[in-house]
């Protein structure tokens, strides 16, 4: 029997401007991004919700997870606009990274490019939406609610 090359599921390499991970058990996250959905995982055993999604529950050691869509709005806790970027991200400048508080969980991401800087206020309500980057990669960004 000839050796057949095993197919590698490396969907996660499409996440972010530059992805540093390609193989992970939560690769379905990328398919959901393709559908415009941002998903976390919930442990079917103990009910703990995770964002970012994870394959394993540290609370009860179960790996039986279900996907749950992140919806509604979150409060902007803090942000920073970068004037310099690490290698590989220079073409994106300037951009702002931020944290949104959804109550049950928080999301780390970027503020959408079209939100004017003078309209950004800590405490403002924002929503998280899937975004396609100029290089074809996928991420999620925060828009004014």
């Amino acid at each position: 029997m000839g050796k057949k090359k095993k197919e590698v599921d490396d969907r996660f390499k499409r996440f972010g401007t530059v992805s540093f991970t390609s193989i992970t058990k939560i690769n379905d996250f990328i398919d959901y991004l393709d559908q415009g959905k941002i998903m976390g995982t919930r442990c079917k055993e103990c009910g703990l919700f995770f964002f970012p999604p994870r394959a394993d529950c540290h609370n009860c050691f179960s790996s039986d997870m279900e996907w749950v869509e992140v919806s509604g709005t979150g409060k902007l806790i803090t942000y920073s606009k970068l004037e310099f970027a690490p290698i590989g991200f220079g073409d994106d400048l300037p951009y702002a990274i931020a944290v949104l508080d959804y109550g049950e969980h928080k999301i780390f991401g970027r503020i959408a490019e079209d939100v004017p800087e003078d309209e950004i206020r800590v405490g403002m309500e924002m929503t998280t939406k899937v975004n396609t980057l100029p290089n074809g990669q996928l991420n999620y960004v925060f828009h004014k609610a």
Binding site: G16, V18, P52, T78, S80, E83, F84, P86, F108, V122
Partner: protein, 388 residues
């Protein structure tokens, strides 16, 4: 089981573009500490080599250093917790000595950051955060700490002027520290002068002047049991308390954005072990990788109440003559921050202060000193309390 002491401290000068290899760099800090301790190398029972990984071609630097420094056949290993690696090294050396497994242990910290460009370095440091869920957004250390700065300013009314005052203090002492990489003065007015590089934005609200200088350097701390400490050291300095903590890597897992929980937890643990409170500290080294980091340290360590750190710097209470002198060696901001070497350098400063050997930087007659050393974006925290 007896006390654990520090019998030797040393560091290389912190420089840009060290003209040598990492083993040669490590030699400088080690030699300085061994000459300070005044013992032969054969008396070192084990070594712990500390740095943040991925700056060097050399994998597993411990073996190479042990050979170059004459520390074979004694056991050696590599240990890292990013920027707090050598404080974590002190913690492990303490446990090795306290357990009786070894009598004397050398903690050697180093970093040669100049092997790579500044942008590459930012990328490496950024990958000390969550590479799966944060780094793909284009993160770097100044931006992370900028998010804490915004959190602190929003909650407590801390201003960019307050942060500038911290940099001015650092530069005051960087100028008189022969080992510092940045020895020029920094004035308050530079932060409002568009012509000055200090005022240039990096990741708002932080400016160039708010950020520490990358540097190459090495440090070494020789830890010994009570018997050896009394035998070798004319002015013994003892490890009175140690604290360490971690938190979630991803900022999305955190609740506090105006302080570092790891510093609070490590501080409490160290104070408890030493049987003292913040009021008993006579001199401190805190991890001022950014100006906001020193501001938060004042509060997280109990030198000031939450939100009142700005009063300390406005009143110059953290200057050499103040009620709680902090980073009177220039700190990371001016002395420089060769990641793995930083903790050992901070420990060295406090040991010299307690012995009364800090020269022009000497604080008046300190008895108890504290080292606060943070790894990553408030990811790892180590607090070490030393006393005479």
């Amino acid at each position: 089981m007896g006390k654990v002491g520090i019998i030797g401290v040393g560091q290389s000068s912190f420089v840009r573009g060290y003209p040598g290899s990492i083993r040669e760099l490590a030699f400088e800090g080690f030699k300085d500490a061994m000459q300070d301790a005044g013992i032969p190398t054969k008396d070192i029972d084990a070594s712990i080599i500390c740095s943040a990984p991925e700056y060097d071609k050399q994998r597993s630097p411990a073996g190479v250093f042990a050979e170059y420094l004459g520390l074979v056949p004694q056991p050696t290993c590599y240990l890292e917790s990013l920027c707090s690696s050598s404080s974590m090294g002190l913690r492990f050396a303490y446990s090795l000595v306290k357990s009786g497994l070894h009598d004397v242990v050398a903690v050697i910290g180093f970093q040669k950051m100049s092997e790579i460009s500044s942008a590459e370095s930012q990328e490496r440091m950024g990958r000390g955060a969550d590479i799966q869920w944060e780094s793909p957004f284009g993160t770097m250390m100044p931006a992370y700490y900028a998010m804490y700065a915004r959190g602190h300013m929003g909650q407590y009314g801390t201003t960019l002027e307050d942060l500038a005052l911290i940099r001015v203090k650092a530069a005051t002492y960087g100028q008189i520290n022969e080992k510092a990489v940045y020895r020029r003065p920094v004035t308050f007015d530079m932060f409002s002068d568009p012509e000055s590089p200090m005022s240039n934005p990096v990741a708002n609200p932080l400016r160039v002047g708010d950020c520490c200088a990358n540097a190459d350097g090495s440090s070494c701390v020789i830890v010994a049991n009570e018997e050896k400490t009394r035998a070798f050291s004319k002015k013994p300095v003892w490890i009175l308390g140690l604290g360490a903590a971690s938190t979630t890597v991803n900022l999305a897992g955190r609740d506090l954005f105006s302080g570092l929980t790891v510093a609070q937890a490590a501080g409490e643990e160290a104070y408890k072990m030493a049987g003292i409170t913040a009021k008993d500290i006579d001199v401190a080294e805190v991890h001022d990788c950014f100006t906001i980091a020193e501001m938060m340290a004042y509060e997280n360590l109990g030198f000031a109440k939450p939100g009142e750190g700005k009063e300390l710097i406005r009143a110059k209470e953290t200057y050499k003559e103040g009620s709680i002198p902090v980073n009177v060696d220039g700190g990371l901001l001016s002395k420089g921050h060769p990641i793995g070497a930083t903790g050992g350098s901070q420990i060295r400063t406090i040991v010299l202060q307690l012995r009364g050997e800090a020269g022009e930087m000497q604080v008046k007659d300190p008895e108890i000193g504290l080292v606060h050393n943070i790894g990553g974006v408030g990811l790892y925290g180590n607090v070490s309390i030393l006393g005479r």
